[in-house]
């Protein structure tokens, strides 16, 4: 029996049913609308530490979104492990990593790029030289952000180099009495092993077909050469990350090391050094970085916002700070325009413009393209370990 004083007004059965139906309908619409309404306003990126912005305000201003960027070391192995084994695509909206990753990760771990997406307004002005290395067959993966050709950084006074136009050999890094015990070398196999292999090839020590993908016999020959030089005392230290490059050069712990150009910039600007990242070496290591969209993003509803983010990385607002750090991207004219609009100092604007020219000059020199995931990675890694362990 119902106590009418406490049970409230009686609702006729028919009205109750009507109300329930209407409520259910509203609920269903709500469920359907909810994902679109709750689109991510924070972009979550995982990538190379040196290519994140120190201040993401220009991104916020351009897109209205926040950025949570998780920096990582440049080692492709770490990125492979995180993407394949730890499946971090569930937690991130984009990866910023090496061009070439798509050859291994493309089909299963990256979404193909929709180059006609309306948010990707700057795509058409990206040069073919930047987009071509990101294709697997006819499928385009990734948006290029920066690229370049690396050599070594060194203290000119220590090596007695007065003429910056003089062509210097990688012999200084690998096989020189002049730099004995004064060389720093990256422990990242896919960076250092091909550089050493190219020297071994050029010096006629062993013929190598593809320095980025060594056969077992070639890898053993290169490791044997490296071990002999290591035992002769050629190398002072081996390093992992960007901060160590800066520290080794800045403290003059080494006279020369295979480093990124932005490490030299930091040493010179923050520590008052006069280090040179050489633009006239006998060969270079051509590389590029790009933003890839994880396959898991297809299951989310923020793909449009991700494309907005990709487009930002092609804009002057992103490329100008990169240029100031000594890195060149696909649209450096936009970078210069942005720097001018923002009233940056003239020397910064000039530097951003010059960066592109420097990279172009390096590209004219014989070089090989970096391969972060060579098919013979397992064999190469074992020989590299033999070199490190010796």
């Amino acid at each position: 029996m119902i106590d009418r004083k406490t049970a409230g007004p009686v609702i006729p059965r028919r009205r109750l049913l009507q109300g329930t139906a209407a409520g259910a309908a509203v609920g269903l619409i709500g469920v359907k609308l909810r994902p679109a309404a709750a689109q991510e306003v924070t972009m979550r990126g995982y990538g190379t530490s040196a290519q994140g912005l120190e201040d993401w305000t220009p991104f916020v201003e351009a897109t209205g979104m926040e950025m949570r960027y998780t920096p990582t070391v440049g080692d492709p192995g770490v990125v492979l492990r995180e993407i394949m084994a730890n499946e971090i695509g569930r937690d991130y909206d984009f990866f910023l990593t090496e061009v070439g990753m798509q050859t291994v990760l493309g089909e299963d771990w990256f979404l193909p790029l929709d180059t006609s997406h309306p948010a990707l307004t700057l795509w058409d002005r990206v040069p073919e030289a930047f987009t071509a290395p990101l294709r697997v067959g006819d499928v385009q993966y990734g948006v290029p952000n920066v690229g370049g050709a690396d050599s070594f950084g060194f203290w000119p006074d220590a090596l007695g180099v007065d003429d910056p136009t003089e062509t210097l050999s990688w012999k200084l890094m690998f096989d020189s009495e002049e730099t004995l015990g004064r060389v720093g070398l990256s422990t990242t196999m896919v960076y250092s092993f091909p550089l050493m292999a190219q020297y071994v090839h050029n010096a006629g020590i062993h013929q190598i077909a593809d320095v980025t993908n060594l056969s077992a016999e070639e890898a053993r020959a290169v490791a044997d050469f490296g071990i002999a030089r290591k035992q002769a005392g050629q190398f002072r230290a081996f390093f992992v990350g960007f901060d160590e490059q800066v520290q080794l050069l800045g403290n003059r712990e080494v006279d020369i090391l295979n480093c990124w150009s932005d490490a030299v910039v930091v040493v010179n600007e923050q520590q008052g050094g006069e280090v040179v990242h050489y633009a006239n070496a006998d060969y270079y290591f051509k590389w590029g970085n790009a933003l890839f969209v994880p396959i898991q993003a297809a299951e989310r509803d923020n793909l449009d916002r991700i494309y907005e983010t990709l487009n930002f990385f092609l804009s002057g607002a992103y490329l100008a700070p990169m240029g100031r750090k000594g890195l060149a991207g696909p649209n450096m004219d936009l970078a210069v325009a942005y720097a001018e609009e923002q009233g940056w100092p003239a020397e910064d604007v000039a530097k951003i413009g010059a960066v592109g020219d420097t990279v172009a000059r390096k590209y004219e020199t014989p070089q090989f393209s970096f391969n972060p995931v060579p098919p013979n990675l397992a064999v190469m890694e074992e020989e590299w370990q033999r070199f490190l362990n010796a």
């Binding site: 192995g77 230290a237 403290n251 712990e253 995931v373 990675l377 397992a378 370990q385 362990n389």
Partner: protein, 295 residues
């Protein structure tokens, strides 16, 4: 067989808590270790693990010199432990039994504890600027006409030096704590009965301190062997140790190789512990090790 049966009866005598612990330990610790050994019998093909059993990973383990990393790691771990022990034991004895001022003792214990609040990298990296080619030490040496000494950094010496500093507290504290539990009357009685100071040390103090020493050895040697930070910062990868090698294997998605490295280390540790047990049994300190705490 008889020994196993005796061990089982001894465990069973401990009742259900002991049996529960053994069961949990078997499931949570022993089984994963066994699985790790099994995993080392697989191999890496491209970027994937091939689950066909075989010995290829172990062959590569020896060919690539990774076994040398294990040997080097064990050698450095042992050397560091011995050096830290040689410094820590006299200091702990003085702190527990020789230092009569409670405030000084409290201050010193606090100083020893402070490093635990800082991460190892922060504590260690400062030595790079001090021991580097143009660091403070080499600058001072230069003032007295000695040329820069490269071996001060990025060398085995540097790795040992860094580890001794890092692991000194982990050795001192357990030894000191056990020593403070030893009744001073025992030491006085030993003297009253005509024992020399050396005899009191070897026959009374040291046996009673063995649980602390054993704990100190475990807390020092095991983390030293697994250390990644000090070898990288102080050794500059000139001294490649186990942690770095396992890291490199994992970065190349070579899980079977990482499993082989870890299995080999466990095998070496088991041999070392077996040797330790033999030595303790020979000096009659085997099972008595932990009974000392009952004294």
């Amino acid at each position: 067989m008889i020994r196993l049966r005796a061990a089982y009866h001894e465990l069973a005598a401990g009742g259900w808590p002991v049996m529960l612990f053994v069961a949990a330990w078997t499931v949570l610790v022993v089984t994963p270790l066994a699985l790790m050994l099994v995993y080392s019998l697989f191999r890496t093909q491209g970027f994937a693990t091939d689950f066909t059993p075989g010995l290829e990973t172990w062959r590569t383990f020896f060919d690539s010199g990774r076994w040398q990393v294990v040997v080097r790691t064990v050698r450095i771990g042992l050397t560091v432990t011995v050096v830290v022990m040689a410094i820590s034991l006299p200091f702990a004895i003085w702190l527990a039994k020789g230092c009569r001022s409670a405030s000084i003792r409290a201050a010193l214990v606090t100083l020893i504890t402070i490093p635990f609040f800082l991460d190892v990298a922060s504590r260690t990296i400062v030595w790079r600027t001090l021991l580097g080619s143009e660091g403070a030490v080499n600058t001072l040496l230069g003032l007295v006409g000695i040329p820069p000494q490269a071996w001060l950094l990025y060398s085995e010496f540097a790795v040992h030096f860094g580890m001794v500093l890092v692991y000194f507290p982990t050795m001192v504290l357990p030894i000191m704590l056990v020593l403070t539990l030893i009744d001073d009357d025992l030491l006085e009685a030993s003297g009253d009965l005509g024992a020399s100071r050396w005899q009191t040390f070897t026959d009374v103090l040291l046996p009673l301190a063995l649980p602390g020493v054993a704990a100190g050895v475990v807390f020092t040697m095991v983390p030293a062997m697994a250390d990644v930070v000090v070898p990288q910062i102080m050794g500059g990868f000139n001294v490649n140790m186990l942690g770095n090698s396992v890291d490199a294997a994992l970065d190349a998605l070579k899980y079977p190789m990482a499993a082989a490295l870890s299995s080999f280390v466990i095998a070496v540790l088991l041999v070392l512990l077996g040797l330790l047990a033999l030595v303790l049994r020979r000096v009659g300190a085997g099972a008595a090790l932990f009974r000392a705490l009952d004294a």
